[in-house]
Symmetry: D2
Subunit: 348 residues, 4 copies
């Protein structure tokens, strides 16, 4: 199979390159970049030297060449750019997996416009696109032609909350998601925020109450609960490169025990290849999922059984972005779901 | 004045050394250490070479010699050891400021025993000891002979919540404190937890629902509210050395505006020398308080006015420990409250 | 093939576990640990949960059971313990790859005793053991039964110097190796040195002129040069987990050009699967080899052609330890040399 | 005294602000910024909130207003901009301390032009300017009107080499300076280089053989030796914010002992208020000088007495920049040399 990446030189793009170079069913890779068109990706990312494995010569082309060459196209671009490629792919009988927010809101254009300040240019694409969280939408994903890959924080938070909400165990008036992310989430473009001198040895929240992942988490939660869920979301920036912890607080409709909640999670995720429900007593941590597609969930019942606290850990670049996109590629392509994304986490 | 430090070679102890060497009213320092008795503190902490300023020769003695020499004694010891020195100080007409938990619960021995597994050996000391959070107890501190210096997380969380609880604005059934601390909080003793290979480039909560600072925060909150406050406290360990962020979520009894909450905080802390209520729109961050005695508070009203989110930032070693202890020393000694602890935060 | 690891819960041991779990020719893994015998490695390293792939149940046994079960045994132990297992392996027709210093000095017991303060207990083992640097000893390794895996600093330094010394281009009176390592090199045991509060945001040399890797580098260099080479070696500890940079300074016997030196390196390593000689103008960096078995070498001719400066970058846990050990296993087992250790470096 | 800072919002500028706000003899501060003119420095650096101490209202003006208001002007600007302000200051009877490279080469315009690609615009200024390394030029500094503050690497390297070269003990054909700096050295402007995702958990040299501090080190060394010294300089970037280690290798003209070299250093720096010659056996480290104006030097004689290795540690922002500039201000103003820059190093 030929895989294509439009936007191969951003962090998400090159993480896709890293994963797809090692994917057994991807025989060829087509890569584009606006910033580095005409250059070789090995010169932009010298870690790739000697690792292209005959799948690509490394030369970065324009986006159209990628669409033309690939069976499955990944778009790893700023918000608001992927729609045109989705349209082109569908017209040419190809599939597209978008890693921006463009296809995360399906037909709910109003919410997209409210948070991303841009109308849909190709509404038909949003009618058929599928939200690519396999733990929610696996069967729809298998048949999709256009997939909107979830946000990183969203993945961590949603997986922490699904079982509780589906069972009607959580009160829906104020679910709190206190989330912390490594700095790779700010991307390759240098900024004051990701300057080591500003971000190393420091920690703070940002965009309190205003982060664009909030409506996406709320939408997922509301679907799971079957009614509107009010989500309070606070992201923080960690002085480290990779990893997200979402510490999630849900008030329960009745007192619960840890064993009861554990059983619900264990059952809900029993067949999931990328969710580990940790034994009671353990606590999820980013190092145990680093560079892997795992989402680790640890369960803590506090406040006399009236609050369930879930700690959710993912690697923001893998399960939070490129790894989940490959998981989606596997699903739409009929490959084994874990193929190429079964790396053992590097704990140190 | 002669200041003494029992336990001068732990991180809190040596932070006291650093501050007191620069304190204009401290003419002499007496230092003890169990681990390094007979050695010179300059050999344990070579950063102090050439910096003793004639206040000490640096030789680490036993504890009794410190009590004998000092006017004010600081105890920076494991829990359960300070009582005897408090008794000795009071008998000798000296004052003691303890940085362990021993004097944080006043006469509430039951709570202390529940969380610290040790009865009071000198109950009389707890009858007269004062909890050393100046923003709550300034006048009592001025007259105290024995002071229990607050916990680091507790300081950050309490200052975030006091104004809301005093005004009766926050619901008291479930206040959430999601706190994150730098690694110096784990102390000088090496452990798996503070091994760089384990703690660098990683992040996780610990002791979820079981941290000993929970009852101390709850007690402070209950005093402020005038009724029991249920506090849910989750500490996390950050991959950095210094700094605490407490992200605090309080549901309000009625919808509020940011301006209203800001006004309450601004008024409550108007005279406080070490609390900065940040302008609306700003967010507290550890770097802006690093190596200073400031507590920065930023105010965020979310959830349609039904939730107040306060971000509280301190340096865990300064306002969270040694700096606050010096603030207490200044109060009991009649010195200007900011003397020797007015360093400008080192933002990078 | 059954692979066994004696000392599976140290950092080097568990890095071997990570690599061998993913190795296509290793069907089964036998694991021992003194500290955690009887426990499951998943409880010690929760990153391994769900990743054992039927190769092991994770239970940590004693060492003898590993020797009995395995075809190839890895010893990842403190210095001075591996000899007995080498003897046992050879007697039972098995092979052993030792990751301590025990088999790095072949029959030169005097040097071993001088630096490691311990005589050889099984001299016969040292008569047949082979030093496991494939770039020096590939053919001998293929036939060996006992292999001494090189030190981490040694690997980086030796690969930087071999081509120059073999060609007689470098003066041998004072080759300088200024090396810097990530903290995983200090191992799993917590110490003051690897406490984050001491090692984060700080940097320093250690063991100046006294590090045990000095004689090993000197021996390798002398072999390459065919005469004694005097090596000055200074290790430093970096505030990061993984990676070594060796900045190597060699004075030349005559002025040289960068192009000339590049040609020598390119030719010397043309067939090497794990050495990348970077294009002139590039500089080796740890991030480009992270979590891979690559050694990156960049060439800089300075001082008017009279000094060659080589920057050598490896991942200390992979090419500097476990990865090179697997490379050796591949060689003695007749597997493709890169099997199981061809991961793409994770640059961030 | 009124101090002025032109370029107060870069890292060096704001470090000057931090130091001068605490300086007892500076009663008033005038601040300018091109990027933030008209704004308040408290909004750019919120750590300064509440810390201006009546010395400034924080409003950032243009450069001319600073020259007009100040008795001593600091220029913390890109290279090639300070000359005009030097001229203006001298004409108005003021003094200027420049923290760029503009006044580091005195009348040697040729070297400046070779490395900085710009001719002198005000040659007269360079005839009278003095190179501001107090350990070399204290008496000249006292009388100077224009001072060129040394480079950060240069300060660390020069102090390590002066005693050896002045005594004629070091061979001058190839002194090696292998130096490592924290990331604050790259400044406030975000770049790929200082993006945490690139620079955290990674390490590498840069500008090998081409760094602009090389000619400055060589010039200082040559002055000390009384003849040309050939310096080989390699800078590296550390994954941390502050601190420089220069590991310096000098071949000796005859075998020496550590005691002998220690005695030479101890004598040379006996009266220096900011140089600590560490006891033999100790090793200099950045944490022991952090946030202080100290330069720590440790002495290691290796290679049978034929090589002296000096480890030099400074805080690049203090002794390497702003602290040394204040030291120079103290000298030209007749204040005690340590005034305002005698902070105790913060080791963690």
């Amino acid at each position: 199979m030929v895989a294509g990446i439009i936007g191969a030189t951003g962090y998400v793009g090159v993480e896709l390159v890293r994963l797809l170079l090692a994917h057994p069913e991807v025989s060829s890779l087509a890569l584009s970049s606006v910033s580095f068109e005409g250059q070789n990706i090995v010169d932009v990312y010298p870690n790739l030297r000697g690792m292209l494995r005959g799948k690509t010569d490394g030369v970065l082309t324009g986006a159209d060449a990628v669409v033309a060459a690939a069976d499955v196209v990944f778009t790893a671009l700023p918000h608001g750019v992927a729609e045109q490629y989705a349209d082109a792919c569908v017209k040419q009988g190809k599939k597209l997996i978008d890693l921006s927010a463009d296809f995360r809101f399906d037909e709910d254009e109003a919410t997209f416009v409210e948070w991303y300040k841009k109308p849909y240019a190709f509404p038909a694409m949003h009618s058929e696109s599928v939200y690519g969280l396999p733990e929610m939408n696996r069967e729809k994903i298998r048949k999709a032609r256009v997939i909107g890959n979830p946000g990183c924080y969203v993945t961590a938070a949603t997986l922490a909350l699904l079982p509780l909400l589906e069972k009607g165990l959580a009160k829906t008036d104020c679910v709190i998601v206190d989330a912390k992310s490594g700095i790779t989430g700010t991307g390759r473009n240098p900024s004051e925020k990701n300057n080591y001198s500003e971000s190393g040895e420091s920690f703070a929240p940002y965009n309190v109450g205003k982060h664009r992942h909030q409506p996406e988490i709320a939408r997922n939660c509301s679907k799971a609960a079957g009614k509107p869920v009010n989500v309070l979301f606070t992201p923080h920036l960690l002085p480290m490169s990779r990893g997200i912890i979402a510490t999630v607080y849900a008030q329960t409709v009745r007192p619960v025990t840890e064993e009861e909640v554990f059983a619900i999670f264990a059952e809900r995720y029993a067949e999931e290849p990328f969710v580990r429900v940790l034994p009671l007593g353990d606590t999820a941590t980013t190092k145990n999922v680093r560079l892997s597609n795992w989402c680790d969930l640890s369960i803590h019942v506090v406040n006399g059984g009236n609050t369930v606290e879930i700690v959710s850990a993912i690697d923001n670049m893998v399960k939070g972005a490129a790894g989940q996109a490959v998981q989606n590629m596997n699903l739409i392509s009929g490959f084994p779901e874990t193929m190429g994304i079964d790396a053992i986490p590097a704990a140190f």
